[in-house]
């Protein structure tokens, strides 16, 4: 087996290349910092097993950030068989600076210049052979979107990984004579370290001159790549700031309308398909199995399949923001506002990711500036309306409410955001979470949206959801059905349990409706299961959903803000420890209860 590490600056397309080579599904996006921890993919190529390791993007090795520490430690201690240095064809200079630094690890390298299509559009020409010779590493040029050089890249990686290399630093003759003194008595890697330690200024000058010497082989108007982006930013970040934010809000509004319309049609269609299938197949089944199919598959799973188009719309909206390059701009624009609430622009990015799924958001929070802000952001992430809650919200509003659906959707969606901002202010009154000083934000170039990438990314997320239905939600609802069928004194186990804890939910309004309470427990496994369970319990038992506006709204708000799913808690435990995950769960439980109670008291006034 060969271990191949993919290194490079942030947002140069390392994960995209791994996805292309190994046909994997690593998270990608047009913003720096998508990968914050080491990710892996496996590939069998010409009977050789390749273990591809995606390292977080770094700009250098100063040990200042977690990403730098992870990448440096990995390259030093794990010593992979080959490093694929992914570079940005439109911003080659800074990539080359890092490439020259990575050469010093003395590990066989392959240079991979990405974004050829964009560079070509901007008239950039790279003399590959000369550049390869200068760097003493094979350099390839292509784009992760096309298949042309996939095989060539894999062959080159295997060739290089079989080699033993010694890369001499790129120095001018005078500096080389000084370096020679170290190289004579020490191994190359140690000699470079000693040279950089004792001749820091010379080493820095030499690095710049080496980069400039490599840049001779890159011709064309390099500035042109940035010009278009700067022009757009001049409008979006300054004069047109309002237009930009309004456009995003309009997109969000359209997404809600589309979700609402899709929800009506899809739930009906999904149930219709399941009904037809059951009618065809279940006639020969015994009665108990027919009932199981009727309740679990039709009412529960059938409803959950209806969420797929809703999630497609939401993930498509997210993918457009991620791929276009707007994420970093939003972090920059929101930094100012978030600081009023003792948070940062990067925390806002975590919340934005959490609106897709809380788990990657928890992982992203580990890349924030300091420990205090990381923990604070991680504690607040579970209040975001993730895609599962979004689907439940739309379906519930569509099912229960007849009027003012959009207003109710907005209330449900923004309940979590409101809690986040208020809780952040309160947290600072209780304990002074140190908000980090501002940091440099790298702004990626705007990229034309590739529909293939957008749909593939969105499609993968929908496929993940379908797998979740098959493996997780099906078992959850089956378990619930089992509990419904175990009776104690003529009452099902789940009903008796829900009624016994109903006093806890009485102040929130929905304590009298045991199916509302019972539907909350499957939500711990996955939030979608709450809605599936509600539909299933309603059809099994004689209990019906409440017709009271205040009770339904109170239940909805509770569902939007309560304890996150077990996957989120597990991600919190993995990154921040068991005690932190327990604290986060308890905090969500307490805050959602208090907030829902306050909202309920407010609603019943009218």
């Amino acid at each position: 087996m060969k271990v191949i590490a993919f290194a490079g600056e942030p947002n140069t397309g390392k994960s995209s290349w791994i996805n292309k080579l190994a046909k994997s599904k690593l998270m990608t996006g047009n913003w720096g910092g998508v990968t914050v921890e080491k990710k892996e993919a496996l590939l069998l190529w010409k009977q050789i097993e390749l273990h591809l390791v995606d390292l977080p993007g770094v700009t250098g090795f100063h040990g200042q950030t977690d990403e730098e520490r992870i990448t440096e430690t990995y390259l030093q201690k794990e010593h992979p068989d080959c490093i694929v240095m992914v570079m940005d064809g439109c911003h080659l200079k800074s990539s080359l600076r890092l490439c020259i630094k990575i050469r010093n690890f003395q590990i066989p390298m392959v240079g991979l210049i990405n974004f050829k299509d964009e560079a070509d559009k901007n008239g950039i020409h790279i003399e590959l052979e000369k550049l390869s010779r200068r760097l003493s590493i094979p350099v390839m040029y292509g784009s992760s979107f096309d298949d042309e050089i996939r095989e060539e890249v894999l062959d080159q990686i295997i060739r290089q990984s079989n080699k033993q290399v010694t890369y001499r630093p790129l120095l001018n003759p005078m500096a080389d004579r000084i370096f020679e003194q170290y190289a004579r008595f020490h191994p190359m890697k140690q000699a470079i370290e000693l040279f950089e330690e004792h001749h820091a200024d010379t080493a820095l000058d030499e690095l710049e001159s080496a980069v400039n010497s490599c840049m001779r082989y890159c011709t064309g108007n390099l500035q042109q790549c940035n010009d278009k982006t700067i022009k757009m930013d001049t409008f979006l970040l300054q004069k047109g700031k309002g237009v930009f934010l309004c456009a995003l809000l309009s997109m969000f509004y359209l997404m809600l309308i589309a979700g609402l319309k899709l929800s009506e049609g899809c739930t009906f269609f999904s149930e219709f398909v399941f009904r037809v299938l059951l009618d065809v197949f279940s006639s020969s089944f015994p009665e108990s199995i027919s009932l199981y199919c009727e309740y679990v598959l039709l009412s529960g799973i059938g409803t959950l399949f209806g969420f797929v188009p809703l999630l497609f719309v939401l993930h498509l909206f997210h993918a457009v923001i991620e791929e276009s390059g707007l994420m970093a701009r939003l972090a920059l624009l929101m930094d100012h506002i978030m600081r009023m609430f003792h948070l940062t622009g990067k925390s806002f990015l975590s919340f934005l990711i959490a609106h897709g799924c809380n788990v990657p958001a928890v992982i992203h929070s580990t890349s924030l500036e300091n420990e205090a802000i990381r923990k604070k952001t991680a504690l607040l992430i579970p209040f975001c309306c993730c895609s599962a809650r979004f689907a439940v919200l739309i379906s519930f509003v569509n099912l229960i409410f007849r009027k003012k659906k959009m207003i109710l959707l907005l209330i449900g969606y923004s309940a979590g955001l409101f809690v986040i901002l208020v809780l952040s202010l309160c947290m600072n009154w209780i304990k002074n979470f140190q908000v980090p000083s501002q940091t440099i934000i790298q702004l990626p170039s705007y990229r034309a949206l590739q529909w293939k990438t957008l749909f593939m990314k969105t499609g993968y997320q929908c496929l993940d959801y379908i797998q979740k239905i098959v493996y997780v939600l099906f078992l959850t609802l089956s378990g619930l059905w089992l509990l419904m069928n175990i009776e104690i004194h003529g009452t099902s186990l789940i009903e008796s349990f829900s009624k016994s804890v109903s006093f806890l939910f009485a102040p929130l309004g929905f304590g009298k409706h045991w199916i509302y309470i019972a539907s909350l427990f499957p939500g711990l496994i996955a939030k979608e299961a709450s809605f599936g369970a509600l539909m299933m319990l309603q059809s099994i038992s004689n209990a019906s959903l409440s017709s009271e506006y205040s009770i339904n709204l109170s239940y909805l708000i509770y569902l939007m803000t309560t304890v996150p799913c077990i996957m989120t808690l597990s991600a919190l435990k993995q990154r921040y420890g068991r005690a932190f995950a327990v604290k986060s769960g308890l905090l969500s439980l307490c805050i959602s209860t208090v907030f829902t109670w306050m909202m309920y008291q407010f609603i019943i006034l009218f």
């Binding site: 100063h62 730098e68 940035n226 700067i230 624009l333 100012h336 934000i441 702004l443």
Partner: protein, 69 residues
């Protein structure tokens, strides 16, 4: 002149980076003596929007005080 004092759009050369806790972070983004930094004329809240060599960066004004151009 400090980069934070720059208000006029145009190209500047970094003359010096003053020692500070941010020095390493500035260096890791490529800020070094002799680098060309172009100010785009945009100040977004407390950030200077600059082009450093080929990178687009929003640099906090507090950090710009450490860069002499």
């Amino acid at each position: 002149m400090r980069l934070s004092q720059v208000r006029k759009k145009g190209n500047y050369e970094i003359a010096q980076i003053l020692p500070s806790v941010f020095t390493h972070r500035l260096l890791s983004f490529g800020f070094t003596k002799g680098n060309k930094v172009a100010f785009t004329g945009m100040i977004v809240h407390d950030y200077h929007y600059v082009v450093l060599e080929d990178k687009l960066l929003a640099v906090p004004n507090a950090w710009c005080t450490k860069v002499v151009v």
